[in-house]
Symmetry: C2
Subunit: 398 residues, 2 copies
Amino acid sequence: MSVTFPHGFRAAGVTAGMKPSGRPDLGLLLGNEPRSAAGLFTTNLFAAAPVKLSRRRLGRNLAQAVVVNSGQANAGTGIQGDRDAEASSAAVADALGLDPSVVLMCSTGVIGEPLHLDEYLAALPELVGALSEDGGDAFAEAIMTTDTVAKQASAERGPYRVGGCAKGVGMIDPDLKLATMLAFVTTDAPIPPADIGRLATEVLEPRFESLTVDGCTSTNDTVLLMSSAAAGGELVLPGTPGWGQVAEALDEVAASVLLQLAADAEGATHVILVEVTGAEREGDARVIAKAIADSLLVKTAVFGGDPNPGRILQAIGSSGVQFLPQLVEVSIGNVRVILGGEILTSYFDEGGAEAAKAVLREHDVVLSVSVGGGPGESRALGVDLSHEYVKINSEYTT
Amino acid sequence: MSVTFPHGFRAAGVTAGMKPSGRPDLGLLLGNEPRSAAGLFTTNLFAAAPVKLSRRRLGRNLAQAVVVNSGQANAGTGIQGDRDAEASSAAVADALGLDPSVVLMCSTGVIGEPLHLDEYLAALPELVGALSEDGGDAFAEAIMTTDTVAKQASAERGPYRVGGCAKGVGMIDPDLKLATMLAFVTTDAPIPPADIGRLATEVLEPRFESLTVDGCTSTNDTVLLMSSAAAGGELVLPGTPGWGQVAEALDEVAASVLLQLAADAEGATHVILVEVTGAEREGDARVIAKAIADSLLVKTAVFGGDPNPGRILQAIGSSGVQFLPQLVEVSIGNVRVILGGEILTSYFDEGGAEAAKAVLREHDVVLSVSVGGGPGESRALGVDLSHEYVKINSEYTT
């Protein structure tokens, strides 16, 4: 169900033939009418043509449809790429009888390869014909590239429903900057255009920023939040109980989708949750959490099942953030390995290493770091680095 | 020969038994008298005890000896680590009849494990007895950890000799910030203490900063430059012909040692030289070069022999540096793949991919990037990411 769980949305996914694998590669999500929408986009300077188009069209925070193709990213394609994005989204608007200004688009796939416009356009009648209130699954499947499973979630709070789906297994980095990560979140709560952006930046952005697979920020990263207002009732404004309900449901959906993304990340055998507390500022805590989650040495240590606290200490110390080293504490799961900035001798002498190794035998690994007494805290969600990651990325053309 | 190629230096390396492998693990480099010296040290906040000691003692830019142990990094070891560093260097000073203030020290190996002081001290008589003007090779071997070959180089300009050696195969990042990279450069040129630091920061630092193996900055990185003044003659001062000669010889030795480090990097099957030009500032160019050299997707693409220009474009665009995307040009070897910020269609249509693949069949790969018309240029020296890197780093305790 996912994106069609909230009332007022239909979706579809079909095989247009743009993806060499022959799997579904064109998805469409449609609201009942133009309503509030907000987007979070990549900060990569080579933002793809569909990113530029969607960002521009969301200037008024209104949208009704989003069309997504997988196979070609339509990035690094210059003016022709912009023309292809305009043409394809215009054709979608035409097929739906909408003004093009409320049609958004996303692309994912090989960078630099031109959009397969002929196949794209030829598939539109079938795509529009397949729209359905049960189409969330088909949509979630059509947006996949090398994902092995579709990522979907839904939540309900009071009268409001939230649904979401996402794709992305590599080229993923926090900073929203998510890197060939596409995520679509829908709600039927009646949120005004002037306020929906706050939900995106306050609830979704911190969640999606915490994810890092390989520290590589794609040209196409997009998180779209769309509302249908189909739940009816009073407008959901900041400070109202409804606002809190919607925010909670959004957070639940985002958290679930993120865990699913991490679990399906290329070659991942472990999910690594890094929790940093005690920093001067939240931003400092985020930099440290990311430095640990992105460290090749930490990632390979977790893959190898060897805790290696020295590598965690190394990553913290070279993050660029200033703190007092002698205040640093680190635990692997519930096993304290660093205290007062020193690796505990119990790690080497008294079975500490064995206890920490036991933590790494679990699929989900929590690394807790405190760097002082400050109020700043943040987290990063990462994965280990396995032979499979190297295999996948040395054989696949992005 | 290496560090003993310049006149006025002796060196030795012995097996103290601190390294589980049983290979040589204690090295000593000695000048004929206390002379000018300078150091470049890690910026990791968890700087190892020997780094703190050496940095402090180099305050007057005078040194006569450096002792290096491999096996334990003496980092993350707190106050006991500082005491061990003081005790061991004092013992070395005692054995050599020197004032401790002119004895420097370096350590490399497992972070957090206490220094094996008993074995260290017991080996000193043998170490001092082994000092020889031909001891450069033994010294270079004793400082190795998982290096498969010793890295050594020498150069001569006019009356001056320069020699160098280094170790380090992983946890290496530019920013000097070199990460378990130790390098020792000697010269017999008579350089005053007040000026030797300039040679270190102007000649050695840019070279060593360009190297990145895995973007991980160690707690122990150190580059030491020591002079014996044994060549005699007039003082070598900035602006004199002798200064230029020494700088040239230093640069030649540093460049050679760096290439050797890259070629022996953990699991590396290719050396990747990234050259960036046209940036607003040199610092911008360095950031972009490093972003490309550190990109997991670029590294695995080179390993896989698949050029993937989209991954290079992605890395440039997410480096955080501002530039005009439409001015960006990229070549893989001599094959132009990106022009005007676009991936050339010839890459997909006209055999461009095949030509670029041929470049990746060579061991050394040059990626040339221009981001505009600015004067800023820089380079990064990196390596690919192979199955072997994952294997080594998932099975070795740093």
